[in-house]
Amino acid sequence: MKYFSINKEDWDRTLEQLMSSYLIFATVKNEFGIDYEELTAETIADISYNIPKPATPLKNFFLPVKENVTSDRDYIRKRIIIGVPNCDIEALKLLDEIYFDNDFPDIFYREKRENTVIISSDCFGIQEHCHCTSYGVKPWSESGADLAVVKKEGKIILRVISSRGNEFLSQLSLVNPLNDNKTVAEIEQEQLNTENLLKEKNSALPDYKSTGRLVNGAAEAVWKKYSSTCVSCGACTTICPTCTCFLLIDKEGFEKVKQLDACQYPGFARVAGGEDPLGELHRRFRNRYMCKYVWKPVKFSSIACTGCGRCIEACIGKINKNELFMELAG
């Protein structure tokens, strides 16, 4: 992979200059951890590099919670998003499959994607519920993003991932090719260290292939047990980087507003006659697992979980899906 480097001060200045033509969002530390913020000239220095992981998923940039999908579209400003962990990049590949779908491409999604430069951030270190490696996801990006960033000894190192990333870099005058094998080797070692930490921490967790089998074969009693503290709030699906179910709400003038929905909400699958296959709490609860680990991989190229662990962090019922999986695995 091609690497480029730029002095940190030059990088900060470059970002400031780019603000005239791009909206720039980046991961910034806050009182809860890190999350995406729209940068200003004053906050460029606050960007948090290589620390997992933003509290909110990347999907929010491409699939807003609420969006009018029939009115004339606003002029889209180009965006740069800095600091995206690879779990969210892998999730974006699934969103691309759904929304770029040849039969029914979503122009709203496409416009946002085409106008956004995504700069991934290698994760150096892990958080309590990170378990990407269990599902075959690495803590650094090699595809899906445009560039990847590493902050190292007063420098910003950029790894080129896509042609858009390459093109973007070619506009930046102070960026130079990195011809320093030692630095690259150190970055790769750091990547492997994180990968090993993740593997070690999650060694008892079944991998994605056996997870699907275990979920599919789980008895109703398991779903009832683990859903006993679920309040159907939908936090798990809202925070999930791959969950994209939505509702179309009608407004006057035959306008439609697309709003994020969740299979965890009562009535999600109810039909006009009153039948509701997901009427019972434990069935809705099970649906999320079946969808992610059993059904989505039949339809799309991967399971719909990238091991970010946010659903565990967000659950007010303190439901930990990994505990469920380990119980199933025996």
Partner: protein
Amino acid sequence: MTRPGNIYKPVKARLTDVIEESPLIKTFVLVPEEEFSFKTGQFIELSVDGIGEAPFTPSSSPLVTDTLEVTVMKTGYVTEYMHNLKPGSFMGIRGPFGRGYPVEKFLGKEVIILGGGCGLAPIRSLLYALEAVKDKLERVVLCYGSKTPADCIYKPLFSRLNSIDKFETYRTVDRADGEWTESVGVVTTLLNKITVNLKNSVAVVCGPPVMMKFGTIRLLEIGYKENDIYLSMEKNMSCGLGKCGHCMMGEYFVCKDGPVFTYDEIKDTPDIWK
């Protein structure tokens, strides 16, 4: 039909007539403002301005492209608004969506159709499509069941079908009144009245979930192969695009992979009758 570029935007259609089929069922005759065509068994999302939209399979002939008929049972929030609409008003249409009836696979065969209640709506469209190719069909048998004689829809359809060569119809009601001279009982009992040529027969079932379930069970008992039974599934098809997730039935998006499935395709899928 969906506007090029925007999959979410409906096309307006003028309501030119409202036909009362039964106390709870009306047929809306629509003239779309843009060219519209569909394959029989495909569905559309029909909307009431500012209120909501719901999926319906057109009940008119797929060969007619200037008007479109949609038969709607008053059963919820959106359909109640629909029933209050008067000719002259406008509705919204998105679609057509999904996989309809594979009429080409029915050629050379006998087609046995089980319909229940408002499930006759998609079937009427199919019957028009079959009529157009009747020379290439062995036989078409319609078995239709409704709750009461008053709930029987498309009353003129039956005498017309009976006058067409190769077409037969049978009707039954759960509860008869004094004037009813046809069968009484569930729709599957009508299958006892006919002899089928299993080697060259396909069956189509469309109706309420419980009727679909017992209809399918009876067809299997008679000896139909699982891939010769065509089911028109009803789920909450909300976007029609295979995206919103509401109609997922196992790995299938009913809106995109269906709504017509063979029993063979979905027999191992959970909750198909719910």
